[in-house]
Symmetry: C2
Subunit: 207 residues, 2 copies
């Protein structure tokens, strides 16, 4: 049976250094039919970066126009450059029935939730804050003060977990990826989302 | 990280002959840590049936006492025999953190939903009513009238799908079992269910 379905927007979020990028990369290796959302930015392309693949490269005027016209699911300014998630390609993919994966920080995720509450919001947790500290340290040296600030921030973010639908503890990449797969497959079989299609199909069928 | 968790009660339901028993059997082959709920009955044990494994065999007085004491998640009388799902073993397994699988007809499922709304209710759908008709026919001959009655009944049941959390179209046993696995794993990672545990753990952690 083919139930005609709209895709799901899967938003992957979590504190910095928790490993959400690694999980998404691993997940996409074996899920070729899931679309990764491509961000827009006003920063200049680096060598090898392709427009529409790594980013949509826009000039500042274009970007500001798109903000004006409500064409972003979320956006932010980081050190004079703008970054955002263009709404159009995401909605088009969902309409065509593709699931779309969006990896994003916590401020961005909350903006997306406002504009697209039907999304599936997944929060990646570290096994412990101590382990998150190790991961941050491995990314580069940080002063004791910076580290405490970052961990305090991560703790605050984790305590907001109730704004999300699912959590995944990233203690093992294979297990974490398996859980992400399960969440996406379960959501494809959610009655709440697809009951109209089921009822339409079976109410019309004759026997 | 070990989040201390309560197990989930997974209720598998669907029209007669849709194949829910086959899915459960296939599922349990590779999920040894999931407990299958054992029914109680007043009918006599058949050869080879073991008390506590195939059924809890009770005499009628015991059964009626247990109804009186609200010790069933659901019960029904079929041709003079009583059948029911004893609450005690299910709740004990859930408390110990085990997921419990309960395969049941639609009347039973709705009784369980009233007594244990936290359960995860999964409805198994046939690919089409035509295909359900074939499956019923393969189980034995039925008169044209009986068949129409059964299919009409199945259609009514399917149109009540919104009372369930998930649906699984049983067009392929491997795929259907995979979906059941995904639903159970996703539910183990539901924020709604486990947010208290997450917040408890991370609010106490020092860094």
């Amino acid at each position: 049976m083919e139930l005609k379905k709209q895709g799901n927007l899967i938003v992957i979020c979590g504190p910095s250094a928790v490993g959400k990028g690694t999980i998404c990369k691993e997940f996409l290796k074996t899920n070729k039919d899931i679309k990764l959302s491509v961000s827009a930015t006003t920063r200049k392309p680096r060598e090898g970066e392709i427009n529409g693949v790594n980013y949509y490269f826009l000039d500042k005027e274009d970007f500001l126009n798109k903000i004006e016209n409500d064409e972003f699911l979320e956006y932010a300014t980081v050190y004079d450059n703008c970054y955002g998630t263009p709404k159009g390609p995401v909605l088009e993919n969902l309409k065509q029935g593709y699931d779309v994966l969006l990896e994003i920080d916590i401020q961005g995720a909350m903006q997306v939730k406002e504009k697209y509450p039907k999304g599936v919001f997944v929060f990646i947790l570290p096994p412990t804050l101590k382990e998150l500290e190790n991961r941050i340290r491995n990314r580069g040296t940080e002063s004791k003060e910076d580290m405490e600030k970052r961990l305090g921030c991560a703790q605050d973010e984790i305590l907001q977990v109730e704004k999300y639908d699912y959590f995944i503890v990233n203690d093992d990449l294979v297990e974490a990826t398996k859980k992400l797969n399960a969440i996406i497959l379960a959501e494809q079989n959610s009655v709440k989302k697809y009951k109209k299609n089921i009822i339409d199909k079976f109410s019309k069928e004759e026997f």
